[in-house]
């Protein structure tokens, strides 16, 4: 049990008090620096249990998040999935085609249609969806009765935990060709209406589904930010003669600003990902003209058409652009004096 005698404390005072091993002169506030000077062997002996504990998760993350990055080389191949069930064997035996997949993607009108749909959906959701949780949070926050608040929150959070399959099934039963809306229309002498298969309104339908499912859940971070505002600020503002609106403008909104900035950064960084599962489930009903987005384009070409090289190339384009967007969005946040996702 030699490792248990080596200090592991996070409090500096403790470390200095019982440090038999650390190299000389380890008293004082600079103690942190000396901790690194413990020999690697000693630190390994001390921390091996901790390391072992991180191992399963680390292996899974390396295997399913990092190893597949290598698989992107099929984007430069005319990959033939029928060579072998073993992807490595197939990659070794598939012909290399250089940038040809990319050239044909850029000449493919279906790809540009997917880009267009993705961007339109992103902006639509930014305008129609993004502000809603903020407004809802302000509303809930102004409810003072604890029971009313708890019940409202429970109801508003609920759809977040539903699967997309269920959400779309619910919408189907309400707005589909055999749904409640059509049923009511027919009973009053009108024609039925099938919103679920209408390409012209599809993007609004997608946005409405997102709002129904997640707008309520989205208020959680804003409520937390609002709860962290000191009531003294409001009182002081009120003493200085600020009314309801001025307090909202000068106290509440500044408190929300960092959270809003963070979420905007995340959203922009994720701009090319607009509800893959949700849209894939409805793609066949509406048709690719209105419903194809970048993720479903990859799915269609790869999984359905077995054209893996082509699909992987499209996925790689999306991945690289997305990475650039995340980093750029963070940069902008830093320039604006906000923290962004990671610190500078």
């Amino acid at each position: 049990m030699s490792h248990s005698t080596v200090p592991r404390s996070r409090t500096e005072a403790d470390t200095t008090a019982k440090t038999p091993v650390a190299s000389g002169g380890t008293t004082g506030p600079r103690d942190d620096k000396h901790r690194g000077r413990l020999g690697l062997r000693i630190r390994f002996g001390r921390d091996r249990v901790l390391l072992l504990m991180t191992l399963p998760a680390l292996v899974l993350v390396l295997l399913f998040n990092y190893v597949p990055i290598l698989g992107n080389i099929v984007a430069f191949q005319d990959y033939d999935p029928y060579i072998s069930d073993n992807g490595v064997v197939s990659i070794l035996h598939s012909p290399w085609v250089g940038l040809r997949n990319f050239q044909s993607i850029f000449a493919d009108s279906a790809f540009w249609n997917a880009v267009k749909n993705t961007l339109v959906l992103f902006f639509l959701q930014l305008v129609l969806y993004f502000p809603l949780p903020i407004l809802l949070a302000l509303l809930i926050n102004s409810v003072v009765r604890p029971r009313v608040r708890a019940v409202a929150q429970a109801v508003l959070y609920l759809p977040h935990f539903f699967s997309w399959v269920l959400v779309i099934a619910v919408f189907q039963q309400l707005l589909g060709g055999a749904g409640l809306l059509s049923q009511l229309l027919r009973q009053h002498g009108y024609d039925g209406l099938d919103i679920m298969t209408d390409p012209s309104t599809f993007k609004f339908l997608i946005t409405a589904q997102s709002v129904w499912k997640d707008a309520g859940w989205g208020i959680i971070v804003f409520l937390a930010a609002l709860a962290s505002v000191s009531p003294d600020l409001y009182e002081a503002a009120a003493m200085d003669g600020a009314g309801r609106r001025r307090r909202m403008w000068h106290v509440t909104l500044p408190a929300l600003r960092p959270v809003i900035a963070l979420l905007l950064v995340l959203r922009v960084g994720d701009a090319l990902t607009v509800g893959f599962e949700q849209i894939l489930l409805q793609r066949d009903a509406v048709g690719p003209g209105a419903a194809e987005v970048l993720d479903t384009f990859v799915w269609w070409n790869g999984v359905r058409n077995q054209d893996f090289g082509y699909a992987a190339a499209a996925g790689l384009i999306k991945g690289v652009v997305s990475l650039g967007l995340v980093l750029a969005a963070n940069k902008v946040a830093h320039l604006m004096g906000e923290q962004g996702v990671y610190k500078k």
């Binding site: 099929v74 509303l139 399959v165 790869g302």
Partner: protein
Amino acid sequence: MTAVTDRPVREPRRWAAPPRPVWEERPTRAGLAGKGLVLTLACLAILFPLWIVVVTSLSSRKTIDETGGLVMVPEGITFIAYEELLSGGQVTRAAIVSILVTLVGTLFSMTVSVLCAYGLSRTDSLGHRWILMTLLATMFFSAGLIPTYLLVQTLGLTDTYLALILPSAVSVFNILVLRGFFMNISPELIDSARIDGAGDLRILWQIVMPLSRAVLAVITLFYAVGYWSAWFNASLYLNDQSMLPLQNVMIQLVQKQEAPVGLAQSIKTGQLSGLAVQMAVMVMALVPVAVLSPFVQKHFKKGMLTGAVKG
């Protein structure tokens, strides 16, 4: 503020409003009414569709035919749709698959995540920074659908339930939330246990985990809901129809309007309403989360916040 904190202790009237601070204006009647209206409408927008689904699933074929489809007012409640669905056959099997995958997957994910979060909860441990960076970086990129698909195939996971668990077993976000919580536990407590001779596993099990019940409940719920709701991996990796979980069967039933295997006959002959069957499957997918999530609700904010703050 004193008006709030110095309130005499008594059984609180939970629906009543706590006293307002003296400086705050009284709300206008119109403002209150507007607020109440918006909040009620928002809640109704969520609850009304669910009500219709539940009521229709409990209605007889006769009631459904008379109303022309969806039923809003319950009349002659019957459980026939559920009895048929749960008497063996496709949906029963799918429900069992979903339950098992959710249980096993959640247990596995929680074990792996809690261990990793504890392993990373000491900022001075060996390799801490590198491991953390390796995990964090995955939040900025995704390897892509096609390479992941090829990997799962190469690993030989196709047509096994492992394909539904392993690729999505670890959520870095969840690990960070757990880690943030573990790091807030008083180091003195842990140090004194160490001096008493407790090893890391024992400290985790007997000290850290009992003190983290709230966040453990939240993260368990997140993982469980993830497994319960998943359908995409099953559609990718399972070719055998009889292996499909509940969500995938629901797609076939509601979106493609196929009758579940074995029940087509009784729907055709009119004993059973196809619509009620669809609704009953939706209710089966809905009930577990609707029942469980409110219990964990009060911990949500805490769990989300610590995860966001600790980098």
